[in-house]
């Protein structure tokens, strides 16, 4: 088991390095630079920007260096914990990302926990009560959940919350708490703002995972070993939860890594709609304005999250299914 984990960790590091390389390269492929926007802003303010000034600034920031040089500059900084400076937000990248990353991780992992906690029992119920009225109802809800775009659901929920429940939506805090120091009331206010986006993010993957769980479990229930367990005299509830569900979880755990990826992209869209300061939102902004260092750092950090998600799912898989260790 230890060898297995160490090997997976080594793969994970290699993957992250490769992702950072490719991410940086692709961002650099696009024409223009973060300064283009800076100059446009200065010009709009009525300042005169001469060609010499432009050249001097480009030289100062190393805009015209080959991308591989910039990459090296960025990566060697990263190794020392220095992620560079954001052109767009005018603050160090580490400071910019810190709080946003925490919020993103909280939202994504929160959503995945909600999704699993709902999907497994509902999927089990659906599979064991196949072709009954409750199963049909669950199936319809699932299809709606999978099909509805997240931004639309987010907008719908916001409208409903404001119109019928008089709730304040959008942002992380009510205006009164915006600059207040941390307190229980402020925390409570944050939670009351967060559960809605969390639910919206979780809807899609919950519906999807329920579908997967239902299909898997139904397959497993047809397996011979389930009948073997029944033939031993094992009570039906234990046949399902001990013998069938553990085998049906297998593909669900395998999709853990990819679910996390889907959640992160879903989180970006939902955060924009709910105006939440998360990495997803910052990523979109910095990509548009070609704020390379922020975007590349964010992409790399998100890929670290993905890789960690996959690592967790690999280890969990080896734990629930003894066959994995041998085949690996």
């Amino acid at each position: 088991m230890l060898v297995f984990i160490i090997r997976r960790l080594a793969y994970a590091v290699l993957t992250v390095v490769a992702v950072s390389f490719i991410a940086f390269f692709i961002i650099e492929l696009a024409p223009g630079s973060a300064l283009t926007e800076e100059f446009a802003r200065l010009r709009a303010q009525g300042a005169e920007v001469s060609g010499a000034q432009i050249e001097a600034m480009e030289k100062q920031y190393g805009i015209n260096d080959p991308w591989i040089v910039k990459y090296w500059k960025w990566v060697s900084g990263l190794a020392h914990g220095n992620m560079g400076q954001s052109f767009l937000y005018h603050e160090p990248v580490s400071q910019l990302i810190g709080s946003r990353l925490a919020l993103s991780v909280a939202l994504s992992f929160g959503a995945i926990i909600v999704a699993w906690a709902i999907a497994i029992p509902v999927g089990v119920f659906s599979a064991t009560h196949r072709y009954t009225i409750p199963d049909y109802i669950i199936t319809v809800i699932q299809f709606v959940g999978v099909a509805i775009p997240e931004f639309l659901l987010a907008l719908g929920v916001m409208v409903a919350a404001v119109k019928w429940f008089g709730l304040q939506v959008g942002g992380l805090f009510d205006t009164q708490y915006l600059n207040a120091p941390w307190s229980m009331a402020r925390f409570g206010d944050m939670v009351s703002h967060l559960w809605m986006p969390l639910a919206v993010i979780a809807v899609g993957s919950t519906a999807w995972l329920t579908r997967v769980m239902r299909a898997n479990l139904f397959d497993v229930l047809g397996q011979q070993y389930v009948q073997t367990a029944r033939a031993k005299g094992v009570p039906e509830r234990r046949v399902i939860w001990k013998h069938a569900v553990r085998n049906a979880l297998h593909p669900l755990v395998m999709t853990f890594g990819t679910t996390l990826g889907a959640l992160i992209s879903g989180e970006a869209i939902v955060s924009i709609v709910f105006a939440l300061p998360t990495t997803g939102q910052a990523l979109v902004q910095t990509l548009i304005s070609k704020d390379t260092y922020v975007a590349a750092t964010l992409l790399t950090l998100l890929s670290v999250l993905l890789v960690v998600g996959n690592l967790i799912s690999d280890i969990a898989l080896a734990w629930i299914d003894p066959r994995v260790k041998v085949t690996d």
Partner: protein, 393 residues
């Protein structure tokens, strides 16, 4: 042979099983009658789809949904004791499954009731056709055997563990301690089937149902498994209900043979009678279709003409009549033949008009009313009171 209820472990009467599907009702069993005597091996043979496996699953009450038992009884007699039924049926809702002769009518028990679970695994155990898939891949072999022991015999985990290892030793596993901690994927097909047998026998059942346990194994392993079952049978003193479509296996292992065709028992006899004196045209065709060593090289192997009709249509009269070489028009296609007891030293019954006097049996309403009458009208018609009385004689 059937001296009384104490001599039989399981007595199946007029058993009917239906599978309602979207394409129509499939009547998998249409009144199956047989007894399993204590300490004997009963072979059940027949083509695929004739209801062998469904019969076995009905006795275990593990028929897959939407299938269900719609009629008849499966009486189970525990060895010796009169209070057996009371012991098994401790729950009040199971009480009405007790029969007058002190047995338990399995057909009346709910599949998930406490009474049924007390019989499953402990009194009647089952092994399956596919050893590759019949063990749960995520638990060790030992823990799967222990589960059965913990359910029925003891609460002590250490004792269960020791018993499981002991059982693995009994089925001839080399190094049983190591096997107990291995996962099914680490064992070969033959070893897995041995492990299955160990699991099935771990609670010393009175009856072992083996559903084609050697079909998926190569001949060498098959021979080993068969000889193991023979040895264990005499050691534990249980009965075996052996489902197979291999006549060779029947000849090696069985005392009595039941031949099934389309959800009915068409012939029952001792193994010698079946091989040397088969009566039903279907049994005879079945025996003629076995390849023989020493046959002429160019000689074609005989086959039973036609194939099993599709399960949604019901045939009037004897269900074998479209394929029967001895078909009699006006009789076979209108009257369901009754079970006839043949004279002889051992029990030998056959369901065929060739052996019944004056066309005994009931006219099938399907034949007289035409197909428009549908299936419902015939529910009662198939029941054969004559058959039951013939048995008692």
């Amino acid at each position: 042979m059937t001296d009384g209820p104490t001599d039989t472990i399981v007595s199946v009467k007029d058993l009917e099983v239906e599978f309602p599907t979207s394409l129509g009702v499939v009547r998998a069993l249409n009144g199956v009658n047989f007894d399993i005597p204590r300490g004997k091996v009963i072979g059940i043979v027949g083509e695929s789809g004739c209801g062998k496996s469904v019969t076995a699953r009905a006795i275990m009450q593990i028929i897959e949904r939407p299938g269900r038992i719609t009629g008849g009884s499966i009486e189970f007699h525990r060895k010796g004791s009169e209070a057996a039924a009371d012991e098994l049926l401790s729950e009040p809702e199971d009480k009405d499954a007790a029969t007058r002769s002190g047995g338990v009518d399995i057909a009346k028990l709910d599949p998930n009731s406490r009474g049924m679970r007390a019989i499953r695994g402990a009194e009647i155990a089952m092994i399956f056709q596919e050893p590759m898939t019949s063990l749960n891949p995520v638990y060790t072999v030992g823990s799967q055997i222990e589960e059965a022991i913990l359910l029925h015999q003891t609460d002590d985990k250490q004792q269960a563990k020791a018993q499981a290892v002991d059982m693995l030793r009994q089925v001839g596993m080399p190094n049983p301690e190591r096997i107990a901690t291995s996962y099914p994927h680490e064992l070969s097909g033959g070893m897995r089937q041995r492990a299955m047998i160990a699991m099935a026998l771990s609670c010393h059942p009175a009856l072992l149902i083996a559903d084609e346990p050697t079909t998926a194994l190569d001949v060498t392993t098959e021979a080993q498994i068969l000889s193991l079952m023979r040895d264990l049978k005499s050691e534990i003193g249980m009965s075996i209900m052996f489902i197979t479509h291999s006549m060779g296996v029947v000849a090696q292992l069985c005392d009595e043979v039941i031949v099934m065709y389309l959800g009915r028992v068409v012939e029952r006899a001792s193994v010698d009678e079946i091989f040397y004196n088969p009566k039903h045209p279907y049994t005879r065709s079945l025996l003629r279709s076995i390849p023989r060593i020493g046959a002429q090289r160019q000689e074609k192997l005989e086959v039973i003409k036609g194939s099993i009709p599709d399960p949604y249509t019901r045939l009037p009269g004897c269900t074998f009549h479209p394929r029967c070489p001895d078909y009699m028009d006006g009789v076979c296609n209108t009257i369901i033949p009754a079970e006839t007891l043949l004279a002889g030293p051992t029990l030998h019954t056959v369901r065929c008009h060739l052996y019944s006097d004056n066309n005994e049996g009931e006219p099938d309403p399907l034949a007289t009313e035409g197909a428009s009458a549908g299936g419902q009208a015939t529910d009662q018609a198939d029941k054969q009171p004559a058959a039951a009385s013939a048995l008692k004689a």
